[in-house]
Subunit: 526 residues, 2 copies
């Protein structure tokens, strides 16, 4: 009988997804990051966990009411609303097209940095207000959450998690200090390209110089953006000896929106869990109208185009060029576009305000995806094995597309120089050059061939943290060391000093003996 | 219909362990390593794969005939047979007990190093003979294996894999150059303790000095053992620009006999798969006699003792002391011991030539495991949650036990100083101090709480390599860089030179201007 119980226990431990329902406090990031977080929240909810979302009062997307979570609204005046963001994008696109002067470009870059500085400042103010709101903090403490799940692209969730003394799970690609790996995994700059450099893991000497210079540059930028905001705040609430990055580095599990069909191979850590494509799922049937339209493409198949949640419009002349290029193809085109209907639009092109991206990408008739290069879209393209034409606009989009280009599954255009001819040429190349589809199929097969589904893996590790109140055994505490200690600078200096000392003593001894011998022989001679 | 096919495909890709039967060429290491490899072979066989084992003609354990594999016997005269190994162990134990002089210890260490040197030399000779045996090589080529599975503790399998141009999967804890991680993952010596140092991942300054000194020492030792053997061989067969470690570093998957309930957390790589405990399984019922003996222990439970496959005997006086200590306990003891029956043996102790270790450790009555510290035994103890008393003898055993001691689940004794009293004291401490069992239960729970069974994970990745003819996307090729490139020494030197140049030019310009101004003012004054 005890044997049986033991066997049952073993089976349970290894196979069962059963876990007592837990309580999760979520601090999300807005925009496309929220779309990702919602996937985790809905899955957690469906597994019986209770979710509470902390939402900023001026959120764009995070609804206060949902069947999947309760929400607590916190005061926020980020001042960076969807409208002003949209106009910012338009300014940036126009500036790149008009070939702005170096000075204008630098000032735009500065504006962006200033904006992130401002955003961080407001986040810190918001968190400070929460920390001082004893009633709110007490109610959060009383709720006895099992863990905080947060996107460390802003620091609020991480700060709150530590204030409440709760285990921390990160849904991450970027931290407030850049690409997530850099915070906890060794990153040899000789083969790990810094994001935005458009370098691969195999670099020439000049490329390695570029990589290191970029690294230094991004560090300076980041220090300017985050240090003045986070440093005093963290010193005030967590002690003068705590660096704010330690709060991030001590997170239990890093659910990385990434894997090695997307990222170049690089060192990682035991508590990094790759969940690239966790939001992807098999496609569902299309609506009757859409399916009819798709089927009407016959053997030519369809092209799907969307530039992401934030960019629904384009400068009119670009839209005209794109529409004209599409019109010359035998394929059917489904294009998410909210701007003025281009006059050049062909009969083969359907404009939609919104499109079922996943269902379209998974449709067997889909031949090509024209995208802006957000991580979600690219991962869905990899999942469904659809080759890409890229029109990256900002942020990490260029860099994401570079990774796809390096793998031979995408053709990338510059929004500054795109016109009817080069757009048409790019479409034709990806449509008719078979290597694009072949390589994308290979990449898709590699991505899908995993021991378990990325979303299940993410759930496993979130529930693991619930079961064991953290994942300490997977996490180094090397972040507590100073850089001098971490890189063994002190030890090497000490050993060199010892060698020098021994050498000096030896030389002195030899000199001393030499002199004695020498003086003696002198004496003798005399 | 096409939708359905797609869904079926997705389901297949994510859930199915189906794979076409593959052909695996195994080059194992003898001794306890073979026990591990056999577990993988039997599982591969049960999944329908065809296995061929290359066995040295003077193998101790690897049988030429088996229902699970075919074998090809290759000529070998390693000269390190079981008998001579046994006497070597006895010499070593005696020497440690008699408090040998430093000189004797060093000469023993040297003897060991010389032995490994000799072993490597013979391996190289054996591989050379194989390479020159055109008939054998042709038949191996004709067999069209999917991959080579090998233990890189010796280099034969790795060399052969490259010669045949086949994907490589390593079943590994040690390579011919030391601990496996060191070959491919960054290893910051500030928090990754070098094996044998008995340090944890949290070190004081003197400990960090010790760690680096040990590192340097082990490197020198390894160079002495492997370089003279492997270098000329690899240059001859693979080209002058190839370093033998590159052949190891380019392996597709590293199945590491390790995980983070055993190892301290440290950087890892995407192609390292942890499979610690893959050989563990739920216990099976004991034979009637053994079960009766175990049950007769009542509430006190039993103690299991074995010192591994290689050490069946002990110096008589130690055996007497151990038996006397056991005799004083109310527990029952099952002891694997082939030596002379100790006169002090109590009624509670059963001596056996062989014991069903896994079934005993998994028995609910088992309270304590007295072991020598081989990885297999320790991992089985973790799996079954049985606390340990250690009598490490050689190799990595002391170090393995140190890891368990650091986690508070083991008491370790020195074979040189063990006697009846301190052995009894250690047994009582682990039996009656509840923290040992509690901490071991926690460790066991952490170890068992994985998304999939370690053996299944190992199988998945072996079959992954079959399906995709390697796992290139998970492997960096940074090993192809020189150390100067890898550590960016050249780039840093270049940047420093540029800074120096700019600075020099600036200073010269200032000097030049200064002089002109100065000389003018001189002129004016005159």
């Amino acid at each position: 009988m005890p044997r049986l119980t033991l066997v049952a226990l073993v089976v349970l431990l290894f196979y069962s997804p059963l876990v007592n329902a837990g309580k999760v406090l979520v601090y999300p990031l807005d925009g496309s990051h929220w779309i990702n977080m919602k996937v985790l929240i809905e899955e957690l909810h469906s597994r019986g966990h209770e979710i509470t979302v902390l939402r900023p009062s001026d959120s764009w997307y995070i609804k206060p009411e949902s069947p999947h979570y309760q929400s607590i609204t916190v005061n926020s005046t980020a001042g960076f609303d969807e409208e002003s963001f949209g106009s910012f994008v338009t300014t940036m696109v126009n500036m790149r097209r008009e070939g702005a002067s170096l000075w204008t470009r630098i000032s735009l870059e500065y504006e962006l940095v200033a904006h992130f500085y401002q955003m961080n400042k407001q986040v810190i103010e918001m968190v400070g207000e929460m920390f001082e709101n004893t009633e709110l903090m007490q109610s959060l403490r009383n709720a006895k959450y099992d863990l905080v799940l947060t996107d460390p692209g802003i620091g609020a969730g991480v700060l709150l998690g530590h204030r409440l003394g709760l285990p921390l799970v990160l849904n991450v690609r970027w931290t407030i200090q850049g690409e997530g790996h850099h915070a906890i995994a060794p990153t040899p700059l000789s083969y790990v390209p810094i994001p935005m450099t458009e370098l691969t893991d195999k670099m020439t000497f000049p490329q390695r110089v570029k990589n290191i210079l970029y690294y230094i540059f991004t560090r300076i930028q980041i220090w300017y953006i985050t240090d003045p905001n986070y440093k005093p705040f963290v010193h005030r609430y967590f002690g003068n000896d705590v660096h704010y990055m330690e709060l991030f580095q001590s997170a239990d599990i890093w659910l990385m929106r990434n894997d090695f069909t997307f990222e170049f191979p690089r060192p990682t850590m035991p508590n990094i869990v790759y969940m690239s494509g966790f939001q992807c799922k098999p496609s569902k049937p299309l609506s009757k109208e859409l399916e009819d339209f798709v089927q009407s493409s016959g053997e030519h198949g369809i092209i799907v185009m969307t530039l992401g949640t934030l960019v629904a419009k384009l400068p009119e002349d670009i839209a005209e060029d794109i529409a004209a290029a599409f019109a010359q193809l035998p394929q059917k085109v489904i294009w998410r576009y909210k701007g003025k209907r281009p006059s050049t639009l062909g009969n083969n092109t359907l404009l939609l305000d919104w499109l079922p991206q996943n269902d379209l990408l998974g449709h067997p008739k889909t031949r090509l995806f024209v995208a802006h290069g957000g991580t979600n879209g690219i991962q869905e393209a990899i999942y469904h094995g659809v080759p890409l034409v890229g029109l990256p606009l900002m942020f990490d989009q260029q860099d994401n597309f570079f990774r796809m280009k390096a793998r031979g599954v995408a053709k990338v255009l510059d929004i500054a120089t795109v016109n009817k001819d080069n757009f048409l040429e790019a479409l034709k190349e990806v449509l008719y050059e078979p290597t694009y589809r072949e390589k994308m199929t290979t990449l898709s097969n590699l991505h899908r061939d995993q021991p378990m589904k990325p979303l299940d893996r993410a759930m496993f590790w979130i529930e693991f943290v619930m079961r064991h109140k953290g994942a300490k055994h997977l996490r180094t505490e090397s972040y507590k060391m100073s850089r001098i200690q971490y890189y063994s600078v002190d030890v090497v200096a000490f050993l060199l000093a010892v060698i020098l000392l021994v050498f000096t003593v030896f030389i002195s001894a030899v000199k001393f003996l030499w002199r004695r011998v020498f003086s003696r022989s002198k004496v003798k001679r005399e």
